[in-house]
């Protein structure tokens, strides 16, 4: 690929069999295609949210809805604070995942184990935050089919807001949960020297792709639900 003079003959060789034209292993290509289809699923959810919001005159103000914080006194309102902590938890766990993949490249088992444990802790912390937030909203009367929050302009709201919120964050949370399970399996496989025996840590890379995708989706969910 780097030589331009023999580009055509390289091209022929690239697709001539005997080697991967994408220069990655099969499982990783398939992980990419799975993530692409998953992106369309989340995209469909978020776009339908946008369509419904654009077709409605009023919409609840997220700063008036998501304003609670664990252990905060009753009257204290802290919009955006809790969700920003959740966002940073996910970003940091994504960074530790990259470090685990990097350690895997260097066949550094200890580094993989340490960073996978940190990533799993990050995932569990995120899920705990989300469980707290759902529980809190539920006790405020919000659930699928029930919306206690008024629109930002003081008019009556529909249940669209809570339906979309719980469906989309729930779907994302389920992805986080499966990511944590996958990461735990990867950790066990690392600890039992499965990857040392194979001679490579490609599985960590594939789990890493999934985990980064979960972080990527949260970037969109966080922005669209809490900021816009």
């Amino acid at each position: 690929m780097s030589t331009t003079t023999t580009a055509s003959s390289n091209e022929a060789k690239l697709w001539g069999g005997g080697k991967s034209p994408f220069n990655v292993e099969y499982g990783k290509v398939m992980m990419w295609y799975f993530l692409m289809s998953d992106a369309f699923t989340f995209g469909a959810f978020l776009i339908s949210y946008g369509t419904v919001r654009f077709s409605t005159n009023g919409w609840p103000d997220p700063n008036a809805v998501f304003r609670s914080f664990p252990f905060a006194p009753e009257g204290v309102h802290a919009p955006l604070v809790f969700v920003s902590i959740m966002t940073f938890i996910l970003i940091i766990s994504s960074v530790t995942m990259v470090l685990a993949v990097h350690a895997g490249h260097n066949m550094d088992k200890k580094g993989v184990v340490r960073n996978m444990i940190l990533t799993i802790i990050g995932g569990i912390a995120f899920l705990s935050c989300q469980a707290w937030e759902w529980n809190h909203l539920f006790h405020e009367g919000a659930w699928w089919g029930a919306n206690p929050f008024l629109n930002a302009d003081g008019t009556a709201s529909t249940t669209n807001f809570t339906n979309f919120f719980f469906t989309i964050t729930g779907f994302h949370g389920f992805h986080v949960f499966s990511g944590v399970v996958i990461n735990i399996i990867m950790l066990i496989m690392t600890l039992t020297n499965q990857f040392e025996k194979r001679g490579h840590y490609n599985m960590i890379e594939k789990a890493g792709l999934y985990w980064h995708f979960v972080d990527l989706v949260w970037v969109f969910v966080f922005t669209i639900f809490y900021l816009l």
Binding site: R53, V98, T155, H200, F213
Partner: protein
């Protein structure tokens, strides 16, 4: 097997630069998130208007930038073979049309209803007295929850 090792050799050779790249992207993602949050705090209580819309536009741009950094560097797509990048990115271009078409449709539906459905228009202008701030005792909207209304 040997193939995947070659692939690693392409971008895993110098350890220092890989770590430096991870650090750089971490800082970029954090800074963008902090800017988003600052804009979000700024928007609290701001009346609807051009300024609010502009801030929302900036937030969307930052969101796309963060997505780019995660996919390109954390998911390593930038360092893959061009053919692989294209098979992932080109189908995602469909989103450009999806977003345009569906948001357009949504706002068109709102305009139609506001024009031709006086009931809809009227309903969306009636202000409702806010329910009192008490939360747990408020069963009016959620009778079907049989969960005990315990609250810390």
């Amino acid at each position: 097997m040997s193939q995947s090792h070659n692939a690693h050799a392409d971008h895993g050779t110098n350890d220092g630069s890989a770590i430096a790249e991870i650090k750089k992207v971490t800082i970029i993602l954090s800074v963008f998130t902090i800017i988003e949050l600052m804009l979000g705090f700024w928007m609290i209580g701001m009346p609807a208007g051009a300024l609010r819309l502009a801030i929302k536009g900036i937030i969307v741009i930052l969101m796309m930038a963060k997505a780019f950094y995660i996919v390109a560097y954390f998911m390593h797509l930038k360092h893959e073979v061009k053919n692989l990048i294209m098979t992932i990115v080109v189908p995602l271009l469909l989103f450009v049309w999806f977003i345009t078409a569906f948001l357009w449709d949504g706002s068109s539906f709102r305009n139609l209803r506001n024009t031709y459905d006086p009931h809809f228009k009227e309903q969306s202008t009636i202000k409702v007295a806010p329910k009192e701030e008490g939360h747990s005792e408020e069963h009016a909207s959620g009778e079907k929850h049989e969960a005990p209304a315990e609250k810390h």
